[in-house]
Amino acid sequence: MTTDQILLLDGTHDENSKKTIQKVLRKIGPLSRYSDEEFVPIEALEKMVTVITKKYAIQPQWIACTYDSDISGVYGNYSCGVKTSDTHAWLGTVMTCSIYELMAKLVIFMYAQVKSGNIILRTEIKRKEARKGEDE
């Protein structure tokens, strides 16, 4: 299953999609300590986003909310863009019906971007800027 396919799963209403998202989350290093029976807590997902953002030149933008859709029923609609911190290039947008699912998919998306090797370390940005200063 590709990252794009995972991002399109409906993890709020569909039980199988929920399980698939949990399975994928547990494959991510620091989240692998959670057992198959328990849900990865939202606090762990938030921490994971913070850790990735602090280490790599990638960051989530704001979470936009709308509550007028009839499709999502008792839930709202949430979306969050992800961009690089060095070039400010837009990498993608995660869209879901619950805040838990949004954080879960955000972790999956950001982790996949880091693993793809396209995202540099934040220390690398500082090094690049220092080199630029020396050249000038």
Binding site: I42, E46, V49, T50, V74, Y75
Partner: protein, 117 residues
């Protein structure tokens, strides 16, 4: 305790978390979770219901990852959809805290804001 005082509670302290839980349990749709922490999805549903019924809603959640070493500071902006005025900005160190405070604020405002037509 006033709503503004509740919104300014620092949930890194356990006592303050308990106050928030106590206040949440006083809100009718959440009162069934009296012996446990109110689950996030229940708070989310309440916020959605209030947003659908009244002319107010959360416009966005903004994370500030780099300003604090102990975690991400989240900010939610609640707006009046009639006159587009910002009603309140809510801050917290976790999404749960921000959602809980937002639900408390929106519930307290339900009689001051017009119902949707």
């Amino acid at each position: 305790m006033k709503t503004s005082e509740i919104l300014n509670l620092d949930c890194r302290q356990q006592d303050n978390c308990q106050i928030i839980q106590k206040v949440l349990c006083r809100i009718k749709p959440l009162s069934s979770s009296e012996n446990e922490d109110v689950p996030l999805n229940k708070i989310e549903k309440l916020v959605t219901l209030l947003s659908k019924k009244y002319d107010m809603s959360i416009k966005d959640f903004v994370p500030d990852v780099r300003s604090n070493s102990s975690g991400t500071i989240w900010r939610a902006t609640i707006m009046n959809d009639t006159d587009f005025k910002t009603l309140q900005a809510v801050h917290g160190l976790s999404l749960y805290e921000v959602f809980a405070k937002t639900a408390i604020y929106m519930y307290s405002m339900r009689e001051k804001v017009r119902e949707r037509r």
